[in-house]
């Protein structure tokens, strides 16, 4: 039913809360994209049918709820039993009867399904005690995992649209902007521009037709925070956008979602329909007299479409290509009309800011980077996933406390932050507080919050090459420095990694990087040299080794590396022969093995599995001493 006044809204919230609280037992089954891929739909279905068959819902008030992503996809499918807050990991449909019988029936914990600390192996029962969650503070993702994204009442019960009500009924548009300014909110999608300043400019812009847009393109490989927010709590984004629209005086908005995120598209669409039906979107929102409506625009999935001007062209139905201009979107954006574009996470923060106040938000974080920030933590860490924590926490805390440290306890080498055009930070920067300024000063950036952790089995020249390759494929090709510059830069890196490096290459790289930074049309090309320059800054010796000695110190660049088994400790355990993709290792069981150089493709698989650390790598040709073996590193 349509909610037509503030009082009516409060009543609807109270009713939703009562319903939520009437459930004595709630079984939350994560149905984010990660858990779904691991079979969580079947788990949810098993709970539903079993609860139904046993009459548990009517009898005992036991409910099943499918939620958005809990961020810990690596351990999925995840199931949380409320109110105890017990977290079960890697749950399959066949585990359902046991959970119902023991946990729901007798209040016992099913120990084999508990999360185990990767370092101590001790099981941890409660959600909040798991280090992965314990160190987090969630604002943008405040309700993800706790609510059914398809159930507006569930969202209302958890406070959704409370910020909107305060904005519409207690504040003028200027006061809303002031609240966001007090919060110190900066864009979560890239450059960290002040959200309040952007809004104020659009508010001032002349014209009655204005737009607010949500950037849900999220094309960085490995990043999934925006997708998770759109899937897991679409109402938080809607609420932020309605508040933003009220602040700038816009009556139309678009949520731009990439087509490869079908679940996000479906959830957002449903949220919009539900909100419209309840009077949270459309004419005269909640009886306040303010009109605003939203549409979904589906993006074709090019990385560059996330760039502001390209995204607007794409919504207009044109080719999604950046446009050079020196007029801000707040004056001339979508259809050349005043427009505010914000990232998904930025929008999700807005509702919380209006609910709790700008000062509350600003109390988190550092002097210039307020609040919390979501990160996708991936790579060689024990716990990977989606996290949110206050700005200013150290990289060490993120990687070692939340991430649980490096896989197999190998040495940490670098962390790449900021997406494909971010930079790599080495071990001596681990204690840096993570905020916009600090990351930029150190040659990286916040970007959208990607974090890729790398161990010692990583060649930094090869890493730079990887990002260059991605960017060269994603460059739209409109302007010369980016299109031709990336092509040539990649060429130089191919040469370095394949033993054709020449003296003077470093200088050529630096000169080209500067030309691209200065000359490119959009931020893609301008920031494309970051992965190169940051690795050059911190790992110059690796570049020199590739050029001067044709050696890859990490043993990753295949053309530059050969592998050999040190006979002494080899026990003939056969592990290496099992992983070698080309059968290049010979040896009988329990006898010393040998790598056949003519067959070996230097992939290093054997090196990574050998339990005796008896494989070493050498520069191709093998005349020099081993660069390093396992044992003494």
């Amino acid at each position: 039913m349509r909610i037509a006044s503030r009082q009516h809204f409060e009543e609807a919230v109270a009713a939703a809360r009562d319903r939520r609280e009437a459930r004595t037992r709630d079984i939350w089954v994560c149905c984010g994209t990660g858990c779904l891929a691991n079979g969580s739909a079947a788990v949810a279905e098993a709970f539903r049918s079993r609860i139904e068959a046993e009459g548990l819902q009517t009898g005992l008030g036991v409910y099943t709820k499918t939620t958005g992503c809990h961020g810990f996809c690596q351990r999925g499918p995840l199931v949380v039993i409320q109110p105890e807050g017990i977290l079960y990991t890697r749950v399959q449909a066949r585990d359902v009867p046991e959970i119902l019988e023991k946990t729901i029936g007798r209040g016992e914990v099913v120990e084999r399904l508990l999360y185990r600390d990767p370092n101590t192996r001790t099981p941890v029962a409660r959600y909040e005690e798991i280090p992965f969650y314990r160190h987090q503070t969630r604002i943008a993702m405040r309700n993800i995992g706790r609510l059914d994204p398809g159930d507006l009442d569930d969202a209302l019960a958890l406070g959704a649209y409370g910020g909107l009500v305060r904005a519409l009924f207690e504040k003028t548009p200027e006061e809303v902007i002031e609240e966001v300014r007090k919060a110190g909110l900066r864009g979560r999608g890239g450059a960290g521009f002040s959200t309040a300043r952007k809004w104020a400019a659009a508010r001032k812009a002349r014209g009655d037709r204005k737009f607010v847009l949500c950037n849900g393109d999220e094309g960085d490989p490995g990043a999934f925070k925006d997708r998770s927010i759109l899937e897991g709590d679409p109402h938080s984004v809607l609420e932020g956008m309605i508040i933003g629209a009220y602040a700038v005086g816009a009556h139309e908005g678009y949520i731009y979602v990439r087509d490869e995120y079908p679940l996000a598209v479906v959830h957002v669409q449903k949220a919009i329909e539900d909100a419209r039906e309840r009077g949270l979107l459309g004419r005269d929102i909640l009886g306040s007299g303010f009109d605003f409506d939203l549409r979904v625009s589906r993006g074709g999935g090019a990385f560059v479409c996330g760039e502001s001007s390209a995204l607007m062209r794409s919504i207009e139905g044109k080719v999604g290509e950046p446009r050079a201009k020196y007029i801000h979107a707040s004056d001339r954006g979508l259809f050349d009309l005043p427009t505010v574009l914000n990232n998904v996470e930025t929008w999700a923060d807005v509702g919380a800011i209006l609910t709790h106040g700008g000062e509350w938000f600003a109390a988190y974080g550092t002097a210039k980077s307020r609040g919390t920030k979501a990160f996708s933590l991936v790579g060689k860490v024990k716990n990977t996933g989606l996290i949110e924590l206050p700005m200013g926490e150290s990289l060490r805390r993120i990687i070692f406390d939340i991430g649980g440290g490096i896989l197999k306890d190998r040495p940490f080498k670098a962390v790449q932050t900021g997406g494909p055009s971010g930079g790599c930070l080495p071990a001596d920067r681990l204690d840096l507080p993570v905020d916009y300024e600090v990351l930029t000063e150190n040659g990286s950036m916040m970007g959208s919050g990607g974090m890729i952790v790398m161990d010692d089995r990583t060649c930094m020249v090869d890493v730079a090459r990887y990002f260059l390759k991605f960017l060269s494929e994603e460059s739209c090709g409109k302007c010369v420095p980016c299109r031709e510059g990336l092509r040539q830069m990649l060429h130089i890196f191919d040469d370095l990694c394949e033993g054709r490096g020449r003296p003077g290459d470093i200088e050529r790289i630096e000169r080209l990087a500067r030309g691209m930074q200065l000359g490119s049309l959009c931020e893609l090309g301008k920031s494309a040299p970051n992965p190169v320059l940051s690795t050059l800054r911190y790992f110059r010796d690796e570049y020199e080794a590739h050029i001067d000695r044709k050696a890859c110190p990490a043993g990753i660049c295949r053309t530059l590396t050969t592998y050999r088994i040190i006979e002494d400790p080899c026990t003939g355990c056969h592990q290496c022969t099992k992983v070698c993709p080309v059968e290049a290792i010979e040896g009988r069981p329990r006898q010393k093995h040998r790598i056949l150089p003519e067959k070996c493709i230097s992939c290093g698989s054997c090196y990574d599995v050998c339990p005796e650390n008896c494989i070493e790598f050498l520069p191709r040709g093998g005349r020099e001493e081993a660069i390093h073996g396992h044992a003494d590193h």
């Binding site: 201009k325 090709g477 299109r483 040539q488």
Partner: protein
Amino acid sequence: MATLTIDGRRVEAPAGTFLLQACRQAGVSVPTLCDHPAVEPYGGCRLCVVDVTRPEWDGWRKMVVSCLYPVEDGLIVDTRSDRVIETRRVVLDLLLARSPRTPLIQRLAREYGIERTSYEPNPEPTDCILCGLCVRICDRLGHSAIGTADRGAGRVVAPPFHEPPEACVGCLACAEICPTGFIRFESGPDRRRIWNRDFEMVRCPRCGRAHVTKAQAAWYARRMGWPEAEFEVCDSCRRRDMAATTVRLGEGPTGNAAS
């Protein structure tokens, strides 16, 4: 009118115009490859970069493309700063690697002291520098028969799906605007061929010259809502007609020239 300083000279420029025009009016030469008066500025070649600053900007400078930066009162423009020259050099060096045999690029590169590219020359040299002029003029004329396909270094100018473009009328505007002569066509008295499509020619009923394609005449006719035959007469014959009409009009109904 805005008053600005370009390379130390005070220049007046009409509001709403861009720095590039102001520079040229002031006699300051700025290299360009993607700019053309017939189409909107594009900002793709990046050769027209200049440094801008304002006294009140506290020494802070910004490098911008002059073809798109609007003139502003009080702006100080430096078209020859070190980083401007260096950026143009990198761009030309890169273009020379892409199009090592293209005279236009060779000449511009030489002006900036580059005889040979310092990068890896294109194994398949091309004359297309992707300035986008052809695509923009075709759009401007309302056909949008060609566009760009693929991204990054693989970007090419092509008709949709690389097939003979249906929207093409064979007007040759793309080939004429192309600064390097990359776009090939054949045009004879009966046929014209461009983008792998053949067009029948229309001969002017007065002089017999094959001056438009049938598709072109039909397109103009549809667009203007006039009979197709109107467009069969070639421009020069039409001008001659027009002149005759003007003379007649000038002579007035009595046949005497008005004084």
